[in-house]
């Protein structure tokens, strides 16, 4: 392996100053993408600047919503109870990304800055309305994560820029979210496609609580539960749908979202929504799956993900048994 200098700045400012003063330098966080590229000789930087020792980048904080530092590992996110309950799609993604060994070092910032179309945390961040804070030579700027990706491996980051944190709004008990990663193996696999959804539900004309109380609830399929609530006029107040590996960048299915927002929900409607989302996608053939198959699976997974998100509103305490239904 060709030699390089390795720097361990302790602050964001120091890292930016180093990066802008050096010719062929590369940031590294957990290094699970960078070390593979180095070994494959796909990159040959003369200088590596490690962000691992910057304390201001690794944190999870809850004030006016959720703040996650870019240097936070997937394992730390996976373990966070509030994220599991209120930002479930992100929990889904981080708990099945790579292996335990990978999750213990790989960071959410690295996953996003690497900008692979298959990046597992991208769709969850899109549906959770995440904003990103970027620190650069001229100070900080904030943009929605929707504007962060430009193409495979391409982002809006300019030389020296550091992705600092992700900020997500608060969501109440009538909102649920989920991410489904469609893979051939159960573990250690990249998605053939990934679908995340977030839905906010309101109940009936008179309002009321969307909770399931009797014993059947713990075993019944969410479709049956939904049928039982039919007379109550459950309405979709808000919806986000995001899809991964169906276009050069992770994308929102905005037409599908518009078609669902404000409607009385039913499983049949979700099937139509899945069709619309599939038409918005532009998947390609690849070793992991063919385009027609990806398109078919979007239909299935959009519906499935919405149902799972609703399930989490109705039965928030049952989330530990996701295998039960899927």
């Amino acid at each position: 392996m060709r030699g390089y200098e390795y720097y361990k700045p302790g602050t964001i400012e120091e890292a930016i100053r180093l990066m802008t003063s050096l010719e062929d330098a590369q940031y590294i966080a957990g290094g699970t993408d960078v070390l593979v590229l180095l070994r494959q000789k796909k990159i040959k930087p003369g200088h590596i600047i490690s962000l691992r020792n910057i304390k201001d980048l690794a944190f999870i904080a809850h004030h006016n919503g959720l703040h996650i530092g870019s240097g936070t590992t997937h394992a730390e996110i996976e373990r966070n109870e509030i994220i599991r309950r209120n930002y479930s799609a992100l929990h889904d993604a981080t708990s099945n990304l790579g292996s335990v060994q990978i999750r213990n070092v790989a960071t959410i910032g690295g996953n996003i800055c690497n900008a692979a179309p298959s990046a597992d945390t991208a769709c969850p961040l899109l549906v959770l309305d995440a904003g990103v804070t970027i620190a650069g030579l001229e100070g900080e700027r904030k943009i929605p994560v929707d504007e962060f990706f430009l193409g495979p491996g391409k982002t809006v980051l300019r030389k020296g820029d550091i992705l600092k944190e992700f900020v997500m709004p608060l969501f109440g008990p009538t909102t649920g979210s989920s991410y489904i990663k469609h893979t051939r193996r159960q573990a250690m696999d990249l998605p053939i496609i990934g679908v995340a959804t977030r839905i906010t539900i309101s109940i009936g004309k008179n309002g009321g609580e969307l909770r399931c109380r009797d014993i059947l609830c713990t075993i019944e399929d969410v479709s049956n539960l939904l049928a039982r609530f039919e007379d109550e006029e459950l309405r979709c107040e808000d919806i986000r749908i995001a899809m991964g590996v169906v276009a050069p960048i992770p994308m929102r299915a905005k037409e599908a979202e518009a078609a669902l927002k404000g409607k009385i929900i039913s499983e049949k409607l979700f099937e139509e929504i899945g069709e619309i989302a599939a038409n918005e996608a532009a998947p390609r053939d690849s070793v992991r799956g063919e385009a027609w198959y990806r398109r078919e699976m979007i239909k299935v997974l959009v519906k499935r993900s919405i149902l799972r998100s609703i399930d989490r509103i109705i039965r928030p305490d049952d989330m530990v048994y996701p295998e039960r239904l899927w």
Partner: protein, 155 residues
């Protein structure tokens, strides 16, 4: 350019001159001669190189050596007791026939150790999840899971 680092390896302080581009795996095997930790893929896929850094299982093939500065590293060589007695996990792997060619075994045991150090009574599901990043081409995993479970059950 070489740099000096200090860290704890198997409960003893190590001071060494290292090249910035070395991985922890390279340092352990090629410099210190601690060949218990294996190199399978070198890409984070197989888990044969798993060691424990500050209580967490990691792939040493993807770990830059300069990042272990000030940290505590445990390898398979460091889990036997001072008088040479094997760790419970090692004994259990032998009893259950969970070792065939043995190439995955050090990594498996380090992954399992990180789990049982953190959790008193992990479930079989948690055991399976924990070793998802450790490939074994010989055993079919059943005996490995049995071996880990039996250590948990005896606690």
């Amino acid at each position: 350019m070489k740099k000096e680092i200090t860290f704890i390896l198997n409960q003893e302080e190590v001071k060494a001159e290292v090249q910035p581009e070395w991985t922890l795996l390279y340092f352990l095997r090629e410099v210190l001669g601690l060949t218990g930790t294996k190199e399978g893929c070198g890409y984070g896929e197989c888990g044969a190189c798993t060691v424990i850094v500050d209580g967490k299982a990691i792939n040493s093939c993807l770990y830059p050596i300069l990042e272990v500065e000030g940290k505590s590293v445990t390898t398979i060589e460091g889990i036997i007791s001072r008088d040479g007695e094997l760790h419970d996990l090692q004994k259990s792997f032998i009893e259950h026939g969970a070792v065939q060619c043995g190439f995955c075994t050090p990594g498996m045991i380090m992954s399992a150790k990180a789990l049982i150090d953190e959790k008193e009574k992990p479930t079989v599901d948690e055991i399976r999840h924990t070793i998802a990043g450790n490939l074994c081409r010989c055993t079919g995993y059943v005996k490995i899971i049995d071996a880990i479970k039996s250590v948990v059950d005896r606690r």
